[in-house]
């Protein structure tokens, strides 16, 4: 197993990111950069990274600048995962042939992609990478919307959210379908590790990323990434929103080992009503009209059901 980074406290943690520069074009309050720093902070190993087309990509590698002090590649919207898989295959080939320039190094292969690039257009590529067993990690920066193109729905957009292609209006409450369960789908590939993480629970995140780096084989991580622009909240509130997401159990934190064993990794002491989570964001504002209040009730039931289901799975070890 590779060298694990030891992190004592948040202050040290927040200043130790040396491979992703603060100089980037992401929105103030964007959770993407926080998540990326937390991921890169989890290891001292060398990195081969990719980003699919999306906010992270267009904001961190605008010629002649780059925010990345690690090998990084972008090809297209859908194929960042496969680019990393190709690099990983090359690493294996060159290692076997004894042609690596620094043969003692033990790089980690990571692809970052948004929910659009993972849940939708890049779905097939990720599935292929998981099924083939590449030693790589795919991390979804899940902001539940196509933020880079200006707020269109994705299959991660939750029911009732207003997005530009599923707008709330006089006769519509916005998105009509519920979010795709990507973690389950990916876990069903029987990969060694899949998990949900959130930037506010950084120790939990680092632990999971380190676990992911330590296992041999494909790893899938779904990271909650509150989007100040499209979720419509004040940039200073990113972590508050993330707290509401994890504490209302809208975004439960858990891991699935070998596609079977499910562990809940965070149990809020005080579970917050989902109403508080919804009320904090402009994209759900219309749900508080009288005619849509029933949707908030349904939201709560769905969250409760899911929490009960996760706990049953955890108990049953299936």
């Amino acid at each position: 197993m590779s060298e694990m980074k030891k992190i004592k406290n948040l202050k040290e943690f927040s200043t130790s990111a040396d491979r992703f520069e603060g100089a980037n074009l992401l929105c103030p309050g964007c959770a993407h950069s926080i998540i990326v720093r937390e991921v890169l902070n989890a290891t001292n190993d060398d990195l081969v990274l990719s980003a699919s087309t999306g906010c992270l990509e267009v904001c961190t590698a605008v010629y002649p600048y780059t925010s990345w002090d690690a090998s990084w590649i972008h090809i297209g919207f859908e194929n960042g995962s496969t680019a990393v898989a190709g690099a990983e295959a090359m690493y294996k080939a060159l290692k076997r042939k004894g042609r690596l320039k620094q043969p003692e190094r033990n790089p980690k292969f990571v692809s970052f992609a948004g929910d659009g690039a993972s849940y939708d257009i890049g779905f097939q590529w990720i599935s292929g990478c998981m099924e083939r067993g590449h030693n790589m990690m795919h991390i979804v920066l899940d902001n539940e919307v196509y933020a880079n193109t200006g707020g269109q729905r994705s299959s991660s957009t939750p029911i009732g959210a207003s997005a530009t292609t599923s707008p709330a209006g006089r006769v519509s409450y916005g998105e009509k379908r519920n979010k795709k369960d990507m973690v389950s789908i990916m876990a069903s590939h029987h990969i060694p590790y899949s998990a949900q993480v959130s930037p506010n629970k950084w120790k939990d995140m680092v632990k999971k990323i380190q676990h992911g780096f330590a296992v041999d084989g494909p790893v899938f991580i779904n990271a909650a990434s509150p989007c100040t622009t499209e979720w419509k909240f004040d940039p200073k509130d990113t972590m508050t929103i993330a707290d509401l997401a994890t504490d209302s159990l809208v975004f439960p934190l858990y891991e699935i080992i070998d596609g079977k064993e499910l562990n809940i990794t965070y149990r809020p002491k005080n579970i917050v009503p989902v109403e508080d989570y919804l009320a904090a964001q402009g994209r759900f504002k219309h749900l508080f009209k009288d005619e849509y209040k029933y949707l908030i009730k349904e939201w709560q039931e769905r969250i409760d059901d899911n929490w009960a289901y996760l706990q049953r799975r955890e108990e049953a070890r299936v």
Partner: protein, 407 residues
């Protein structure tokens, strides 16, 4: 070396696919990422079998689509090693997005394209519609006429593509079934000689050099995009053909086989000339020889390099020809064929008085017969005698039903 168990005879009987696969083995490809499609599949199957038999070391990534195949090749090439794959037709079409990305990122990759018609209607046989779909993608495109060429041109493609001055991906084309599945005698090169010819892979800006991390595939907008594309285009137009010429000469020293950017046959004193590519070149040469016995001074110009298009060489080869036929094995709907356009473009602003006509033939694998070529040369001679193009400027050869033509 693992594959010295495998001894080649001086002459093997190989089809075009197996010839290409053997070339990939001898070049010791580090990574092949591939998805199967008829008629190109045996190339990557060959690589997989060579790996399975330990005749080669490398990685074979059996991906879930052609788009992923080229995506994996791009990642592998950026990581810093020798990369190749193969495809045809619909698979090529699915790859097209990534083809532009590979060339824009200046990554050396060799793609064996076994030419096949694009659907719809679905057709597994050879024509050049996929070849032409890739013509603006920034790749070097070299064309094999027979299995021997498919073998030789792979070595040449790696040498050109991986040159640090060039750094552009290259396609090696061959005709589906007509070349890919027709076995002929192929004069081989020994494993050591072949590998020495392509040389060790010399990485540039490789992602696996952790002392020098690199950013590949940046974003540029109006401030830099133009400069990048103009430089790429200029490099393709000015550096590639001289490099290919140089590598052809080196290859001749190694094998005794001479390739030319434009393959001229009996053109020096010809009145009439057919310009074509692929497996048709050999048929056309045979018919031209027969026409000469009948008193018609016939010649054939075969195009070996499709991109960059060899305008100067074409101009030179055709300068004294009186009537020219450009033969296109694809029909770009709504315009004359690619070769017709390129030949016309090459001859414009020259002193030529040549009469140029275009013929579309062989779509979906339809044979081009010797009888059709006899008619064609006869028609060209009639044009010479009349001093004008006597038939429609663009015609379809060998289509059932009423004669189709336009212009």
């Amino acid at each position: 070396m693992a594959f010295d168990k495998m001894e080649l005879r001086d002459i093997e009987v190989w089809d075009g696919n197996f010839a290409a696969a053997q070339a990939l083995r001898q070049c010791q490809i580090d990574v092949v990422a591939a998805y199967p499609i008829t008629p190109s599949t045996p190339i990557v199957e060959g690589y997989a079998k060579f790996l399975a038999d330990n005749y080669i070391e490398g990685e074979f990534v059996m991906v879930e689509s052609e788009h992923a195949a080229m995506s994996g090749c791009i990642g592998a090439a950026a990581a810093g090693g020798r990369v190749a794959t193969a495809t045809s037709s619909q698979g090529f079409a699915l790859m097209v997005e990534t083809l532009y990305q590979a060339s824009g990122m200046r990554l050396p990759i060799v793609l064996n394209v076994v030419n096949r018609a694009l659907a719809s209607p679905l057709n597994v046989n050879g024509d050049h519609s996929d070849m032409y779909l890739g013509r603006d993608s920034g790749w070097i495109q070299i064309d094999a006429y027979c299995p021997q060429d498919a073998y030789d041109l792979n070595f040449i493609a790696f040498r050109v593509s991986e040159d640090h001055d060039i750094r552009l991906p290259a396609m090696v084309h061959q005709d589906g079934f007509m070349t890919s599945h027709t076995a002929q005698g192929v004069t081989t090169i020994s494993d050591d000689a072949a590998y020495n010819f392509v040389g060790d892979y010399k990485p540039m800006n490789d992602m696996l050099d952790f002392e020098h991390p690199v950013t590949h595939g940046v974003q540029t907008e109006e401030d830099w995009h133009f400069e990048h594309k103009a430089r790429q285009h200029n490099d393709l137009m000015t550096k590639v053909l001289p490099k290919i010429e140089e590598v052809f000469k080196d290859f001749e020293k190694l094998s005794g086989r001479r390739y030319n950017i434009v393959e001229e046959y009996e053109t020096k004193d010809a009145d009439v000339c057919v310009v074509c590519l692929g497996s048709s070149v050999e048929t056309a040469r045979e018919v031209a020889g027969e026409m000469r016995e009948k008193g018609i001074k016939a010649g054939v110009v075969g195009i070996r390099v499709i991109r960059p298009f060899p305008f100067a060489q074409i101009r030179d080869a055709l300068k004294d020809i009186k009537a020219i036929a450009a033969l296109d094995r694809s029909s770009p709907n709504g315009a004359p064929g690619m070769l017709f356009n390129e030949i016309a473009g090459s001859l414009f602003n020259t002193d030529t008085k040549a009469l140029l006509s275009g013929y579309v033939y062989g779509l979906g694998g339809r044979d081009l017969t010797k009888a059709q070529l006899v008619d064609l040369f006869t028609e060209l001679q009639a044009n010479v005698d009349a001093g004008k193009v006597t038939t429609p400027l663009q015609q379809f050869i060998g289509v059932r039903g009423p004669k189709l033509s336009y212009l």
